[in-house]
């Protein structure tokens, strides 16, 4: 069952779907692994290293795409490559199924079994395959490092002969996996950290990292069975902004990570809120890719407003591409291993499985995921 890993072609993507250690693991399972030449270049890994791990260099991308049973990559396939794929093959990647309707339909039409990794259920047993978690965690770290590189202050408190430097105040809005890592990293560097989230369970988690939770009484908020946040009503959001404004005004750095699964990210930090902040402050909008939590943020740009620099960083995990790739490929390895049939040496698709039920989007020419099915047909 040939497995093929093409190079990422989306611009700015530095991550790699499979590192040599994971190749070795798959080969150990009995898979035949092909990679596109130069796959690891962006993280300084040579083709040689892949070969030593048991991989083979595909002579040419197109034919490899067309002849492999399993395709692994980070980003969604370009639509023009879908037709190249072998019917019945399994395609594993992030897909952004909620928005990429045409792509998903095309995959279904091509008879591809498309697994959208963002749809993996957030349950304990699936955590080892959970790329959203692993990448979000690194993104949180990278966001703090980016903020530290941008702001004109140092994070920790210092009492020195040249006066006492006050520690940076950092405010985190939205504390999922990424937000938690933001807190951890900023606290390590010595910042004073406050954080807010709409899900009540988060308060304890924030405190478990030694930061302060900002309490806002928004009425009923809650979370889904998967642990995702529910969308707020417009009134709730208004109320939230009011409180956020005060905390942003006091903060030197604001990092936003708020997301609602399957929807546009909520707009939390409005322009007037930015105008109330101290000049010289920094905002990092980690949700910029899915619509942005900050009104004035732009993807991959640093916007300056009222002396406040607003970083709209896409692909934060790509900034620590080496570790991000390692984690991503470990997740893929675990996924394949979990559903690997040792006898027949194939990846077995069982749509009644708790995990596959959620993340297999298309199979046998149909869109098989209920949520997506309903969304598209609505």
């Amino acid at each position: 069952m040939p497995v093929f890993v093409p190079k990422e072609i989306e611009s700015g993507e530095t991550r790699v779907a499979l590192v040599p250690e994971a190749v070795k693991r798959l080969v150990g399972l009995g898979a035949e692994v092909w990679i596109e030449a130069g796959l690891g270049a962006s993280i300084s890994i040579s083709d040689r290293a892949y070969q030593e791990a048991g991989g083979q260099i595909a002579p040419d991308r197109q034919s490899a795409l067309g002849s492999s049973d399993v395709i692994l990559r980070v980003r969604k396939p370009p639509e023009n490559e879908v037709s190249t794929l072998k019917s019945g093959c399994i395609h594993v990647s992030l897909l952004d199924a909620f928005h990429e309707r045409d792509l998903v339909r095309a995959l279904a039409a091509a008879g591809v079994t498309a697994i959208g990794l963002e749809m993996l259920p957030r349950i304990t047993i699936a955590q080892k395959m959970d790329v959203l978690s692993s990448q979000a965690s690194l993104a949180g770290y990278a966001a703090v490092i980016a903020a530290a590189g941008t702001i004109d202050r140092i994070f920790p408190m210092m009492m020195t002969p040249a006066g006492t430097l006050k520690p940076v105040r950092l405010f985190v809005i939205g504390v999922g996996v990424a937000g938690l890592q933001v807190i951890a990293t900023a606290r390590r560097l010595g910042a004073r950290v406050e954080a807010f989230d709409t899900r009540p369970a988060v308060e304890e988690q924030v405190q478990s990292l030694g930061a302060k939770f900002v309490k806002v009484d928004l009425g009923e908020t809650g979370q889904t069975a998967q642990g995702y946040a529910r969308e707020l009503t417009p009134e709730q959001l208004e109320k939230q902004r009011e409180v956020m404004a005060q905390h942003c005004a006091k903060a030197d750095i604001v990092i936003t990570t708020a997301q609602v699964f399957g929807r546009k990210a909520p707009l939390i930090v409005t322009n007037p809120m930015v105008d109330q902040m101290q000049p010289g402050s920094v905002i990092v909008d980690m949700a910029v890719e899915s619509g942005g939590n900050v009104e004035c943020s732009l993807p991959d740009e640093t916007v300056e407003r009222n002396g406040v620099r607003v970083l709209g960083l896409r692909n934060l995990p790509g900034r620590v591409a080496r570790h991000a790739s390692e984690m991503y490929s470990n997740n893929l390895g675990s996924l394949l291993e979990h559903f690997w049939d040792k006898e027949s040496k194939i990846f077995r698709i069982d749509l009644s499985d708790e995990i596959l039920k959620h993340c297999v989007l298309t199979h046998d020419g149909k869109i098989v995921n209920e949520t997506i099915e309903k969304l598209y047909s609505a």
Partner: protein
């Protein structure tokens, strides 16, 4: 002369007290033993000054006894020490019995105030003798060391004990004409010693010896009452009391209660069945947990989300340091999904400055788990849930976990029996080798630390 003897006895008693005190501390133990030996010498020499003693037989006895004792003490293997102590202890018990016997033999017309101690010296001395000898035999594997059980055992023992009491009362009431009863009592005491020790397993023998040691002290004190000798009473009673405390301490170190040791044999059939108990979770106090930890050589610490919630990382580190200072090897086993974000435990342990070298991955620790004396689970739950291994119906079935249940003893530090993130019951809490240390993890760890510090 008598005054000198009395003052010597006082001096001897003081030396015993000091010696015992020093024996309880590592640094001074040897000195303590020496001091108590000097006390003994003084007591012996003073006794020899008692007027009217015939020395010839005394000297014969001393020489023979010294020779046997010295040779035995020199020859014995280091590993066979407890057996040896048991034998010596038996000898002491026998000596007390004989003293009681001789006194009765020489003055059968005793007062009640002499008859009662005579009875006690013979009873306790006799039990000590046969009990100690049997303990020796079990330890040295001269007889099978497994608990020996037979039908109606409990009733037979109780009956025997009542019989002893009955004859005791008769004896004390009319000591003068009761020589046969005395001899009978000696035999009964021997039987009682055998019967009480026979149902106890070899592993519990050290505790039994400590208890018998306490008995032999009491027998000596009883002998002291017969001959109205202060130093005998003081020294015997000191040994009796400190022996009981020591027995308790040793029980706790084995995570057993004393009744558990003494009557475990009777329940042996139940616990040998080996079926996983799903009954009640057993709680433990920090003090008892301390005694177990104090004796552990390999300890693994398994933190989870509860450690983070309690912000217990600093105290945990402190406990680990104390365990290491106490000679144990300590590792932190980190489950990849412990906590609520990737690397949650790493962040917190790094904050507490735990060296990276002490962090061990799940896959590395699991194969060695069976060699761990103690696993301490600090606010972890799902990541140590054996249902993942054992129960195919569990939602986490198949997830690798840290197999703490394979360790000798497991302490679980959490606040209640509540479930963790995955919301499922944890059979670990009900396993026979698991003890729950309820309470906030930080407070519980602090309590353990305090126990260590105050030792």
């Amino acid at each position: 002369m008598p005054a000198l003897i009395d003052w010597s006895y006082i001096a001897a008693a003081i030396l015993f007290i000091l010696g015992l005190k020093l024996l309880g501390k590592q640094a001074t133990a040897r000195k303590g033993n020496l001091i108590s030996a000097v006390g003994m010498l003084i007591a012996i020499v003073a006794t020899l000054l008692v007027s009217g003693l015939h020395y010839q037989w005394i000297i014969v006895g001393l020489v023979i006894g010294s020779a046997i004792g010295a040779v035995a003490a020199q020859r014995v293997q280091m590993t066979a020490m407890p057996e040896m102590v048991a034998l010596f202890n038996g000898a002491g018990g026998l000596a007390s019995l004989l003293v009681g016997w001789v006194e009765y033999h020489n003055h059968p017309n005793q007062l009640l105030s002499a008859a009662i101690p005579t009875f006690l010296a013979i009873l306790i001395g006799g039990v000590t003798l046969t009990g100690s000898v049997l303990a020796y035999a079990k330890l040295a594997e001269k007889v099978q060391s497994r608990p020996v059980l037979f039908p109606y055992q409990k009733m037979i023992n109780a009956g025997l004990f009542l019989l002893v009491l009955l004859f005791g009362v008769i004896f004390c009431a009319h000591p003068a004409g009761s020589y046969p009863i005395l001899l009978l009592l000696i035999l009964l005491a021997f039987a009682l010693g055998v019967l009480t020790v026979i149902p106890i397993g070899g592993a519990d023998m050290p505790v039994v010896i400590a208890l018998l040691n306490s008995y032999s002290g009491l027998a000596a004190a009883a002998a002291g009452f017969i001959i109205q000798n202060t130093v005998l009473i003081v020294a015997g009673c000191l040994v009796g009391a400190s022996g009981i405390i020591l027995t308790q301490i040793m029980c706790k170190a084995m995570n057993r209660s004393i009744t558990n040791v003494l009557f475990a044999g009777f329940g042996a059939s139940t616990s040998s069945a080996g079926v996983a108990v799903t009954g009640e979770a057993k709680a433990i106090t920090p003090e008892s947990a301390y005694f177990v930890l104090e004796a552990a050589a390999q300890v693994v610490l398994v933190p989870g989300y509860g450690m983070a919630v309690a912000q217990a990382q600093h105290v945990l580190r402190e406990l680990a340091d104390l365990l290491e200072a106490n000679g144990a090897e300590v590792r932190y086993a980190i489950h990849p999904v412990a906590g609520r974000m990737p690397g949650h435990m790493n962040v917190l342990l790094a904050e507490a400055d735990v060296p990276y070298e002490q962090l061990v991955e799940m896959d590395a620790i699991n194969p060695t788990m069976a060699t761990m004396d103690v696993a301490i689970v600090i606010g972890a739950n799902d990541v140590v849930n054996p249902a993942a291994r054992e129960d195919p119906g569990s939602p986490i079935y198949g997830m690798p976990i840290i197999n703490v249940d394979e360790a000798g003893t497991v302490f679980v530090l959490k606040r209640s029996m509540a479930s963790g993130f995955a919301g499922i019951e944890n059979p670990l809490f009900f396993k026979a080798n698991t003890r729950m240390l309820f309470g906030d993890a930080k407070a519980s760890l602090q309590a353990l630390v305090t126990e260590f510090k105050s030792s």
